[in-house]
């Protein structure tokens, strides 16, 4: 495995058993997915609900145990690791979730949440840790005094910044971002995405970016993997996938995105002169 590769997933498979009372059914949530993420690279996994994109992200970090396949992280076979070894490895791989309200502990201060990974890692003395937490908060665009607040006192965008501060605290080489801006308002979304871009430029962290929002992905990712029904249907450079999609499913996804191009082709007819012809009385 070459040095500039962070994550290699081969033949990732996850099946669930459904049904009771004798009617058993096996459902393939993910089937035979191959993915590579290089250092400093953003690979997006896109698809509709139930396509298996979150499961892929979780299996990459071994938060969900795959039923088949192989995961190699920085040259180490992740599936072969013991619990202790895995825990040590985890500081190099982090995750950011969609809903920061439920992913942060409501009873802990922001500073405690951000410092927790360092505490668990156990290598940073307390004094240094406090300093580092303050630095991290400033780094993600929050005042250091935010550290004393509780999650309920913060807005969604601010909380997502806290979640990012926590994720980068241990200087990971890979962050799995599962719909990190889907719950945020449009005007705030750009702030958080720009922060992720800046952090990547600065630290060379790689992102596995799971999203259903194709317009965000087009701006954000270097490469795109399109999933449908648990399988990878298309994988390639963002420009190529968006510019000349090969798979019909990718094409139908792209066509379905609402567009702001007045008078363009394909958009449903829309009259700029409304039709108040009928008097409703």
């Amino acid at each position: 495995m070459s040095k500039d590769v962070v994550l290699v997933a081969e033949g990732l498979t996850k099946t669930y058993r459904l049904g009771r009372f004798g009617k058993r059914e096996t459902v393939h949530a993910v089937r035979g997915v191959d993915l590579t993420v290089r250092r400093g690279e953003t690979v997006a996994v896109v698809g509709e609900s139930g396509a298996g994109k979150s499961t892929v992200g979780r299996m990459a970090l071994r938060l969900v145990e795959p039923d088949g396949g192989r995961v190699e992280f920085e040259g180490v076979d992740v599936l072969g690791l013991s619990r202790t070894e895995l825990r040590r490895m985890r500081s190099r791989m982090q995750m950011i979730f969609q809903d920061p309200f439920s992913s942060l502990n409501p009873t802990m201060t922001v500073a405690d949440s951000v410092g927790e990974p360092l505490l668990v890692q156990g290598r940073t003395p307390a004094a240094e840790r406090h300093e580092r937490v303050a630095d991290l908060l400033v780094r993600v665009g929050l005042d250091a005094e935010f550290g004393e607040r509780f999650p309920r006192e913060l807005s969604g965008g601010q909380l997502q910044r806290v979640a990012i501060a926590r994720a980068i605290s241990t200087s990971p080489s890979l962050i799995v971002c599962d719909e990190p801006v889907a719950a945020l308002d449009l005007s705030i979304r750009g702030q958080v995405l720009n922060l992720l871009l800046d952090l990547q430029a600065e630290t060379g962290v790689a992102y596995l970016f799971i999203s259903h929002d194709l317009s965000v992905v087009e701006h954000f990712a270097h490469r795109v993997a399109v999933m449908k029904g648990g399988e990878l249907v298309e994988l390639g450079d963002t420009r190529q996938v968006f510019g000349s999609p090969r798979h019909p499913y990718t094409r139908s996804l792209l066509e379905a995105v609402p567009r702001i191009d007045f008078g363009g082709e394909g958009a449903p007819p829309r009259s700029s002169a409304p039709v108040p012809a009928v008097q409703p009385r």
Partner: protein
């Protein structure tokens, strides 16, 4: 040419006409406003978009219009005219007779709005039996027709399905069928496609537009998705911190936004086709209800703020240059903006 005159034009052809609506709640001794003098109009055959971010007041506006305002929210002033009658002064029983018959509503989470214990056919038949006095058999047959109207395949079989047996898109179609059962004049749609996948969203929007045209429905479409607004709404009103800050014909609003907030929102949309680069965004956070500043509520986040002008008094919602006169001749509602610097600013739009 005064504002009152062109408002009168709007009211004349209006299906729903909300005027100076103020809503809020009492916290200890203090009054916390949620809506501040919100006015908008929906005419027959017209799709009006109400956009804004979370907490801007778009959902409260629609719930008030339906007479569904939850406690502890109260109406502090204004009027809601529906086909010439003020819903706020009407007997609650009469409002109930209108609701679901002449005006109905669909919501974001269709599966949660349906009763899991009844078949979808029964749930579509219910308003027909309650409001139109149909017999069980008549209502059942009409329910199947309505399922066909919302393009559900094998409608007859589907009528005896339970909500959990249907996908999210199908559930939303069932909700639309229920809403349309009594042939309403006005449909309020609150983020009806937000929870759906893009390909399903596309189908549901197409369906809504088809039915809207066939039935000449007035639709108030509430969403945070500007892409959806651009595709389906004739007119759009943008809300910020409990006020409408800009309204006008959708295309005009996107091509030439007059309010810096509208401009900021438009610049925040990553568009398919222009890859790479940084994302547009608006600095800062939305002020919370009860902490709205004097003057323009967007001032603290605005790039064009001018101290002494933007942060004092009350900024009115005024017709933009030229549009008031055109509006008078065409009977069109003029483009309006709530910004003291609107005339000086030249903000870039789409295209």
């Amino acid at each position: 040419m005064t504002v009152t005159e062109d408002q009168a034009v709007g009211v004349d052809t209006a299906l729903l006409s909300v005027r100076d609506l103020s809503v809020g709640f009492r916290r200890r001794e203090a009054w916390v406003p949620i809506l501040d003098a919100v006015s908008f109009t929906v005419r027959a055959g017209e799709v009006v978009g109400l956009v804004g971010e979370s907490g801007s007041g778009k959902t409260v506006s629609s719930l008030t219009a339906m007479g569904l305002l939850p406690r502890p929210l109260e109406v502090a002033g204004g009027s809601i005219d529906f086909r010439g009658r003020d819903l706020l002064t009407m007997d609650p029983k009469q409002v109930r007779d209108l609701r679901g018959v002449q005006m109905s509503m669909i919501f974001q989470d269709a599966l949660r709005c349906l009763n899991p214990a009844f078949t979808v056919g029964d749930q579509i038949a219910e308003p027909l039996r309650v409001h139109s006095g149909m017999s069980r058999a008549q209502a059942g047959a009409r329910a199947v027709e309505l399922l066909e109207l919302v393009e559900i395949p094998r409608a007859k079989e589907r009528a005896s399905s339970y909500p959990h047996e249907l996908s999210g898109g199908m559930c939303q179609r069932v909700m639309i069928a229920i809403a349309l059962a009594c042939s309403p004049r006005l449909l309020i749609a609150d983020e009806p496609t937000t929870a759906l996948d893009v390909t399903v969203q596309r189908q549901v929007l197409r369906l809504l537009l088809r039915i809207q045209r066939e039935m000449d429905l007035g639709v108030l479409f509430i969403t945070h998705d500007l892409g959806v607004v651009a595709e389906i709404c004739h007119r759009t009103a943008v809300m910020y911190a409990g006020q409408i800050v800009e309204e006008g014909p959708t295309e005009e609003l996107f091509r030439r936004p007059r309010h810096p907030y509208t401009h900021g929102l438009i610049s925040s949309i990553p568009r398919l086709g222009d890859a790479g680069g940084r994302f547009g965004s608006i600095a800062g956070v939305v002020p919370k209800a009860g902490q709205w500043p004097d003057g323009c509520r967007f001032a603290s986040r605005c790039d064009h703020v001018e101290r002494g002008r933007c942060d004092v008094g009350r900024v009115p919602l005024e017709p933009t240059d030229g549009t008031a006169d055109t509006a008078r001749t065409t009977g069109e509602v003029p483009q309006r903006v709530r910004c003291v610097r609107a005339r000086e600013l030249s903000l870039e739009g789409v295209g």
